[in-house]
């Protein structure tokens, strides 16, 4: 079986951990995340011709006073950038994470998740997706509107990054 390291990055409280909890088979206690800044989870992802063992690194979200530990990025085969759809500044910060990833890794697939879609009205959904497309359309492979609460876009997003990584 082929194993791949996927990292999830984004600001504090954008819903990274909830997205993973919605998706994975097996995971360590959340206490590891608060202790060392990363939590590892595993998911076997069935693609058309191959099954991928995704080792998902949930990296503690950055804040104004605390930077993300870039050591955890090293060796990643793909990255999911997570923004909170209800907090526009978290979408603006995605550019910083892309810069950080591209500075440490070469040509890995990137996917953007605009999370917490369940809290958005129809107009807000359209508006935020237009903005995300304008800002990062040329920098990431795909943009998904996701909700860990309803499950919207979660499976699709992980399958998209897995499909991209299968060829890495």
């Amino acid at each position: 079986m082929i194993s791949r390291k996927i990292v999830l990055v984004g600001d504090f409280a954008t819903g990274k951990t909830s997205l993973i909890r919605r998706f994975v088979d097996n995971q360590f206690s959340d206490s590891y995340l608060s202790t060392i800044g990363v939590k590892i989870s595993k998911k076997l992802i069935e693609l058309e011709h191959v099954t991928l063992r995704g080792m998902i690194w949930d990296i503690e979200g950055g804040t104004d006073t605390k930077a993300v530990n870039k050591t955890y990025f090293i060796g990643a085969h793909g990255a999911i950038l997570v923004a909170d759809g209800t907090r526009f500044e978290t979408l603006e910060h995605i550019e910083m994470y892309i810069t950080l990833l591209q500075g440490n890794l070469k040509n890995i697939p990137l996917v953007l998740a605009v999370n917490k879609s369940d809290s958005l009205s129809e107009e807000e959904r359209i508006d935020i997706m237009k903005k995300a497309q304008t800002m990062y359309g040329g920098m990431v492979q795909s943009i998904f509107l996701t909700s860990a609460k309803t499950g919207e876009g979660v499976e699709e997003m992980f399958h998209a990054i897995a499909s991209e990584m299968a060829g890495v």
Binding site: N26, V38, I40, Y72, I74, G75
Partner: protein
């Protein structure tokens, strides 16, 4: 020389030689300092029994770390390349453990780097009794999972093994792409399993060399027996207590289990009779079902309740039986009515058939006896009539002399006489009309004169008589009037008396009938075939 042999691992190995000796000495000192601890007395007792010095035992204790598992992890990605573990090791998901160990090591290394000027790598991670001995070499982390801190000898041994692996598979580690189907992965796993296996065997062989001491084993045996007995009694006490509580919890009854004359007896006065069965069931499920005898009685309230419950059950049963009986009776009644209706219908049908049969039987009888009955009717009607011939059952008016010689006109006075008999004759025949083919009014002459003339004469006479009667409603309205035919017989069949013709008698009129025998035969045939 170490550097020359292990270019990647060498630096670290030489660094940790001094560290290991230091740690071993610290461990021994620590154990000696535990002078007042239970461990010390245990060690002293062990030294006395086995004949081995306490110092040797201390050295032995410091060297008994067991190797549980070995991991090789890709340093950058944290992905597991290969692993091996003993059956006893409790590692749930090796891939998760590998990534997490890698992350923890990265975290600690980062912390060390940010707090110390000298670049150092963390090598031992301990949590409770478990220890991770980690070597970082080139592209990989090599981790040994142990149940306590490894001593110097063990570290050296593990390092030598790690170094040989890194040397042989350095290129593979460098180019590892996450695919664990590679041949090298299974080779590495086999090597690690072999290493873990040989390490276990070595420990066993060390323990085999200990001297045999019979006093030690007898003491251990006696102690074990005593502990076993005490443990067994405690277990029984605990189980009995638990059983009492279980019964109390599930039934609400207070029971006690005592030992009397070597047997266990369960005492109790039940408030609720049904609880006796529950207690029996609970007892049957326990492992002491055969050892415990029951001494259970029922409280006065319980007995009263039992009697009341039984009376209620009897009453309910009685009501249920009565309802069932009434229901059955109703069903039976309905069935009887239905059956009776069916039988009545069948009877009506049978009666109809019987009636039809009787009608047919009567008709057949009538048909068969028709001729006889007709003759009898005629005989009875004309019993004293001088014109009636009982042999031919016809009327013969020869004695009436209706016509004078050569005349075709009948005498009206005589016709009136004839009419009375003729009418009666028709009345009798009317009853048999369906079977009467024709009624013939025949006229005869005497034999004198021309036969042809006589023939014509008789025909005219017959026609004239009928013409006369056609004006008599009593005759012309008879149902059989239409069947009357006339025929002149001429001089046929003259009346001869004593060889001489009685000419007056020959010149006569007769009325007779013929039955429709074809019709009668056909009807009879039809009825018989139907039968």
């Amino acid at each position: 020389m170490i550097d020359a042999l292990y270019p990647i691992m060498g630096g670290m190995i030489s660094k940790y030689v001094s560290q290991a000796i230091k740690e071993m000495m610290e461990t021994i000192n620590q154990k000696v300092e535990q002078g007042l601890s239970v461990e010390r007395y245990k060690r002293k007792l062990k030294a006395k029994l086995s004949g081995v010095s306490e110092t040797e035992l201390l050295l032995e204790e410091s060297a008994d770390a067991s190797l549980l598992a070995m991991f090789i992890i890709h340093k950058e990605s944290g992905l597991l390349i290969s692993e091996a573990h003993t059956e006893e090791s409790n590692i749930g998901d090796p891939h998760m453990v590998a990534s997490m160990a890698s992350a923890i090591k990265d975290f600690i290394n980062d912390w060390i780097a940010s707090h110390k000027a000298e670049k150092e790598e963390v090598q031992i991670l301990s949590y409770g009794k478990d220890t991770l001995y980690i070597e970082s070499a080139g592209s990989v982390y090599l981790i040994a999972f142990l149940d306590s801190d490894p001593d110097y000898e063990m570290r050296s041994n593990i390092n030598a093994f790690f170094a040989s692996v890194v040397k042989q598979y350095a290129d593979f580690f460098q180019s590892f792409n996450g695919d664990d189907r590679a041949e090298e992965v299974s080779e590495l796993s086999d090597k690690m399993y072999a290493y873990i296996g040989s390490h276990s065997n070595r420990e066993e062989s060390i323990s085999d060399t200990k001297p045999y001491n019979p006093a030690k084993w007898i003491f251990i045996l006696l102690l074990s027996a005593l502990l076993f007995y005490v443990g067994y009694q405690l277990k029984i006490y605990y189980d009995m207590n638990a059983l009492e509580k279980r019964i109390s919890r599930q039934t609400g009854e207070v029971v006690t289990i005592h030992k009397e004359d070597g047997s266990y007896i369960l005492h109790g006065v039940l408030k609720e009779p049904s609880h006796f069965k529950s207690i029996q069931n609970l007892l049957a499920k326990s492992s002491y079902s055969k050892e415990i005898a029951l001494d259970i009685s029922l409280s006065v309230e319980g007995v009263k309740e039992l009697i009341e419950a039984q009376e209620k059950r009897n009453e309910a049963q009685k009501t249920a039986l009565s309802a069932t009986y009434q229901k059955h009776l109703q069903v039976l009644k309905q069935q009887m009515i239905s059956k009776l209706e069916r039988l009545q219908k069948q009877q009506a049908s049978l009666n109809k058939s019987l009636e039809a049969y009787e009608n047919e039987k009567r008709t057949i009888k009538q048909l068969m006896e028709l001729e006889k009955n007709l003759y009898t009717s005629l005989d009875r009607a004309f019993a004293n009539n001088i014109y009636y011939n009982s042999r031919s059952h016809s009327l013969n008016f020869a004695s009436l002399h209706l016509f004078r010689k050569g005349s075709i006109e009948p005498e009206s006075r005589k016709l009136a006489i004839m009419a009375t008999s003729f009418k009666k004759y028709l009345d009798v025949l009317s009853e048999y009309k369906p079977y009467i083919k024709q009624i013939l009014l025949l006229s005869y002459s005497d034999t004198r004169g021309d036969a042809m003339h006589n023939k014509k004469l008789t025909e005219e006479r017959a026609q004239n008589i009928l013409k006369y009667f056609s004006h008599d409603p009593m005759i012309s309205h008879s149902p059989v009037y239409s069947l009357i035919k006339t025929r002149g017989e001429g001089e046929n069949n003259p009346v001869i008396v004593n060889g001489v013709e009685d000419r007056n008698a020959s010149r006569r009129v007769e009325i007779q009938f013929t039955l429709d025998r074809n019709k009668i035969d056909t009807l009879l045939k039809n009825y018989l075939e139907k039968e």
